[in-house]
């Protein structure tokens, strides 16, 4: 038996380590279009101490390590670019603490969005976390580590800004706590200490393995509703967002533009989600939002679309399964998207680019988006479904995806959760001193270069 396999089996137990071809095959790819790259081992730890021992072993053996959640980024972030050990974190799935009055929860890195959602439903039905539209099998930490967004992002910013504490295994195997939990039993705040959390968020596992997280919870109102504002002129989208966010009455604001069904062609739909504990509260918010858009309605620039109860059910589902279902639009089991983080006034430019890219590459497309903060920026998705059994279509979607990353950078945006190739595009354009800082931080934290190599790799 090879010595690394044996050592891993001693750490986690033989049933939770594999170097069998079936596991290596599955962990060599995700549901997106990144090239498969095979790991040498897959391992599933249960405790932080086991993670620590795996990292210590990796340092000793100079073998690469790739931490993984549900591998649902669609951009290959947990595909081992240079082989090594994939650490599937999903056996660490305990919710350790709920502080109801302090509105935070402490959980292990393998807890899924669905499990946390169900836990809160049962134990704190008046609280919720910011839920992304990813499938419920996605992990909470996976979303945080890529600076994901959720239904509360419009009100409170990126989900990663809702972190109240972290436990991390550093690349040298040390266990490190960040925030109030580093000096107190309470995981209530990252601030006011030096902001070390930034060393681990957005780095895609290249600076350590997050093993626990403290996450802020927010009031969950008893009622939730959605209004759909429809307009044709993309230039007015930022105005609509500005007006609605200014009321501070919306929970979430999303955008959709797609060629199908035909009735939606040429339109942009802005989903405005409202919550309230009473019908009166809901109605009050609804009136303020309608009033904020009344001038546009009077000028016939747009209007609210009546939604049937069936349509509302789909829009109000948490998370929305229709987004997952879009992977089967071409009966093909796949879609990819470039999530561009852009200033809201760049919406028309981004939409124009999307149409151009789709036409140039001959691909089906869709746009979905979400407002981040009170209109401080938005995530604009250039999305392309593809057919996994049609190599030509896959190639076209891949080219369209790459063009979308380039377009994002051209219009002054920042690609969200870019894959290894797209990270290079970003690093090429980034301020040289910022790039140098990234390099120095990685060298300092990970002198043996074991952590998820191929990602944020600076070659100066």
């Amino acid at each position: 038996m090879d010595k690394i396999y044996k050592a891993l089996a001693e750490i986690v137990g033989e049933e939770f380590v594999s170097n069998r071809k079936e596991e290596l095959y599955i962990y060599s790819r995700d549901s997106g279009l990144s090239e498969p790259r095979f790991p040498d081992y897959v391992v599933m730890p249960r405790t932080v101490e086991e993670v620590q021992k795996i990292i210590q072993l990796a340092n000793k053996e100079k073998i690469h390590v790739v931490p993984a959640g549900a591998s649902l980024s669609l951009s290959g972030l947990t595909i081992p670019q240079k082989g090594g050990i994939v650490i599937d974190m999903r056996r660490m799935d305990r919710i350790l603490e709920l502080n109801r009055k302090g509105r935070y929860v402490v959980l292990e890195a393998g807890v899924t969005q669905g499990k946390l959602q169900a836990f809160l439903e049962e134990n704190a039905p008046d609280l919720c976390h910011s839920l992304p539209e990813a499938p419920p099998s996605a992990t909470v930490v996976g979303n945080l580590v890529i600076h994901g967004q959720g239904n509360l992002t419009q009100a409170y910013g990126f989900n990663s800004s809702m972190i109240s504490g972290l436990e991390v295994v550093l690349p040298n195997g040390e266990i490190c706590r960040i925030g109030s939990c580093s000096l107190s039993p309470y995981w209530f705040s990252i601030e006011p200490l030096p902001y070390l959390a930034g060393l681990f968020l957005g780095w895609f596992g290249t600076t350590g393995v997050i093993t626990k997280v403290g996450l802020r919870l927010y009031p969950k109102k008893k009622l939730r509703d959605v209004e759909l504002f429809v307009l044709e002129d993309p230039k007015l989208v930022s105005e609509v967002i500005y007006r609605v966010t200014h009321t501070e009455m919306a929970e979430d604001i999303t955008t959709v533009a797609q060629p199908y069904p035909l009735m939606f062609q040429g339109t942009i739909m802005i989903g405005i989600y409202l919550t309230g504990d009473t019908e009166e509260e809901l109605e009050f918010k609804r009136r303020l939002i309608w009033s904020s858009l009344s001038e546009l309605i009077k000028a016939k620039e747009g209007g609210f679309m009546a939604l049937t109860p069936d349509m509302k059910v789909g829009f109000l589902e948490k998370p929305m399964s229709s987004l997952t279902r879009s992977a089967d639009i071409l009966k093909g089991g796949g879609f990819v998207y470039c999530g561009a983080i852009i200033p809201i006034e760049k919406f028309p430019e981004a939409l124009k680019k999307l149409f151009e890219i789709a036409e140039r590459n001959g691909v089906t497309f869709a746009h979905t988006g979400r407002v981040i903060g009170r209109g401080h920026c938005m995530m604009f998705a250039f999305a392309y479904p593809f057919n996994r059994a049609d190599l030509e279509r896959m190639e076209k979607a891949k080219r369209a995806l790459f063009d979308s990353y380039v377009a994002t950078l051209e219009i002054g945006g920042v690609p969200w959760k870019p894959g290894a190739e797209e990270q290079k595009l970003i690093l090429e354009r980034m301020d040289k001193n910022s790039v140098e800082l990234i390099k120095r931080i990685r060298e300092l934290l990970d002198p043996n270069k074991i952590m998820n190599p191929g990602n944020w790799e600076v070659e100066l």
Binding site: E22, D30, V42, M44, D88, Q117, P136, A138, S321, A327
Partner: protein, 375 residues
């Protein structure tokens, strides 16, 4: 099949129940590698068919540890959801056709083909324990099934059902040693030829005897017979008939001070949509308190015994589905875990022993009989 497999996105909804409370795919919950999830399994089947992967012992384990509980089809959000179990069954079928099935699976099927039961026990033993007249044109045929005929715990369950039918004054008989395997596991393991043969034998036998209505004890038999081509007889699960008997006043029930939780068998629940009858029976017993496990009805978590795993048990061990389910039952505070399937009963009784738990596993007929006998 290979034309459609690529449609799986591997999004993972299929692993969970509808409220997401925990993993609900038995093989994924047990092994935790993505390869053992429904999506992982479908991607591996596609890779095998495309010759990207060759057959191996591990792949065989991945394929045959699918218990066909149908949670994946219940929870999948795609339009092809109803085909998922068939795709996996087709892959098993192909493996069997190519002679690649693991020895335990092969023996299981050979025993059914040769001896009419998965253990290879003599046909003469099938009804040796049964003190009941053979079917001679009675109103109902009670189909005992392999799991009840050859397994002591199943026999006890069958005796409970028979006793209740007698109390209710039902006219019924059995086929005794002439009973043939129902073929459900052959179907789910992809041995469709064997299934068709068994279906044909049973249909022919029922026709010869003039059987109009078959009452099954096992939901697996119930499911299989529903699939029989050219079926000209009615099939009921025993819980459906018991409820009818209670509602007609043919079973008088006395008080039982018990707290019970009920486990939905996959082949009664998700495969055939029968959720309310067993619950109505339990609720009809005065004093009995029915408490639900978190995962119930469409979200029920399988015992891990389906698709032959009650014999070759690829999912055994400290985190087996049956042991996980027993822990969930214990969390309800119930003293009894009620079942409506002889396979679930055996799986849970073993799990309770392994967990060193005080929880009692009782079939619904036993609980009902206890109440009925007190009158």
């Amino acid at each position: 099949m290979s034309m459609e497999l690529h449609r799986c996105f591997r999004c993972g909804w299929c692993k969970l129940p509808s409220d997401f409370v925990d993993y609900n795919c038995p093989s994924y919950a047990k092994f935790r590698f993505e390869s053992f999830s429904p999506g992982g399994r479908l991607w591996l089947i596609r890779a095998w068919l495309n010759r990207e992967l060759t057959w191996s012992e591990n792949f065989a384990k991945i394929l045959f540890s699918c218990v066909a509980c149908k949670n994946c089809a219940e929870q999948c959000k795609m339009r092809f959801k109803d085909e998922i179990v068939d795709w996996i069954t087709s892959a098993k079928s192909l493996a069997i056709e190519k002679g690649l099935a693991p020895p335990k699976v092969r023996d299981f099927l050979e025993n059914i083909a040769k001896h009419g039961n998965p253990w290879g026990l003599p046909r003469a033993q099938r009804a040796s324990w049964l003190d009941l007249n053979k079917f001679e044109g009675e109103e109902d045929l009670l189909y005992i099934g392999c799991e009840c005929a050859y397994e002591e715990r199943g026999q006890k369950m069958a005796k409970n059902v028979i006793e209740l039918f007698k109390i209710a004054g039902l006219s019924f008989g059995t086929l005794g040693n002439e009973e043939e395997c129902d073929g459900n596991e052959a179907y789910m393991l992809g041995e469709l030829g064997l299934f068709q043969e068994l279906a044909s034998k049973n249909t022919q036998k029922f026709k010869e005897l003039g059987v109009k209505k078959v009452i099954t004890i096992s939901p697996h038999a119930f499911n299989a017979m529903k699939k029989y081509p050219n079926r000209d007889f009615e099939v009921l699960h025993f819980t459906q008939l018991l409820l009818e008997l209670i509602q007609k006043g043919k079973l008088k029930l006395s008080e039982l001070d018990l707290t019970v939780t009920y486990h939905d068998p996959c082949f009664l629940g998700r495969h055939n949509g029968i959720y309310s009858e067993p619950r109505k029976i339990l609720k009809s017993i005065p004093g009995l308190k029915l408490v639900e496990m978190k995962r119930n009805k469409e979200n029920s978590f399988c015992c891990g015994g389906g698709s032959g795993n009650f014999v070759f048990d690829l999912l055994g061990g400290s985190e087996s589905p049956a042991r996980l389910r027993v822990r969930e039952a214990l969390n309800t505070g119930a003293e009894i875990l009620a079942v409506a399937c002889p396979i679930c009963k055996a799986m849970f009784e073993d799990a309770v022993k392994d967990e060193a738990s005080d929880l009692e596993v009782k079939d619904i007929a036993e609980i009902l009989l206890r109440s009925a006998e007190r009158i």
